[in-house]
Symmetry: C2
Subunit: 147 residues, 2 copies
């Protein structure tokens, strides 16, 4: 019952794209570049990028001038979107053979309510917020990497 590193890497990946885009970069960004900059295993990141593409969060361009770009504005991409893609449903209940039917139903309802709370919370945090705060925290000395 934990947030996997696939999710964390996906968040960093998308955030990196958002930051580059905010800094005026219009060309696709190479995966290798991001992998090196953030010390993310390249081949693992590749799979994550493909997943992000399959759910429509990024676009990929092939060939020598290829790379990845966000396919939507970072304002409309929420953490809930991303989590949904990487983790599926949040803390689903294990289906058990036994137990009491009544209690099982009560538990299902209770956890559904808890799940909704988190989804609302994560749905209220956009990639843009993350990227902007991250940019604001960067030291001027390091800004050159993003301009």
């Amino acid at each position: 019952m934990k947030v996997t590193s696939k999710t964390v890497y996906a968040l960093h990946f998308l955030c990196a794209l958002a930051i580059k885009s905010r800094n005026g970069e219009t060309k696709p960004v190479h995966l290798r570049e991001i992998a090196e900059e953030y010390k993310i295993p390249f081949k693992f990141l590749e799979q994550i990028a493909i997943l992000m593409k399959s759910v429509g969060l990024v676009k990929g361009a092939r060939g020598k001038t290829g790379g990845y770009q966000l396919s939507q504005e970072p304002e409309v991409i929420s953490l809930a979107h991303i989590l949904k893609a990487t983790e599926g449903e949040l803390f689903p209940l294990a289906a058990v053979e036994g137990g009491s039917a009544v209690v099982n139903a009560l538990l299902a309802e209770t956890f559904a309510q808890g799940r909704r709370l988190v989804e609302e919370k994560l749905g209220g945090v956009s990639l843009a917020e993350l990227a902007d705060k991250a940019r604001a925290d960067m030291e001027p000395a390091y800004m050159m990497y993003y301009l």
Copy 2:
């Protein structure tokens, strides 16, 4: 990132104890009885009972007239207590080598807030609520098993 069957069984187990207690039963309840009644693998339930004991939610009595009892009133035992014992911290973030320190910090904070929401929700649901609703839903024809 899911609620394991250990947790679900634990909930059924404690709920069963609460129901028996509400129905005037003062003697310890045999694990074997609960396991059969709720179709829970006995040996698995045994481990869960020991865990519940180790965190102070139940008392165990040995010997031929032994069994388990709640060690607190069901009103003061919340789902949050139980989940804490069976699952540990709720959806912890995977620790990754790479990524941006700023983003990692933002994520940690965001998920901590989400976690608090769920903990408050689950902290507000007591074992007594569960047990009472379960009792109310039982058909009179089945009440004999609990009197």
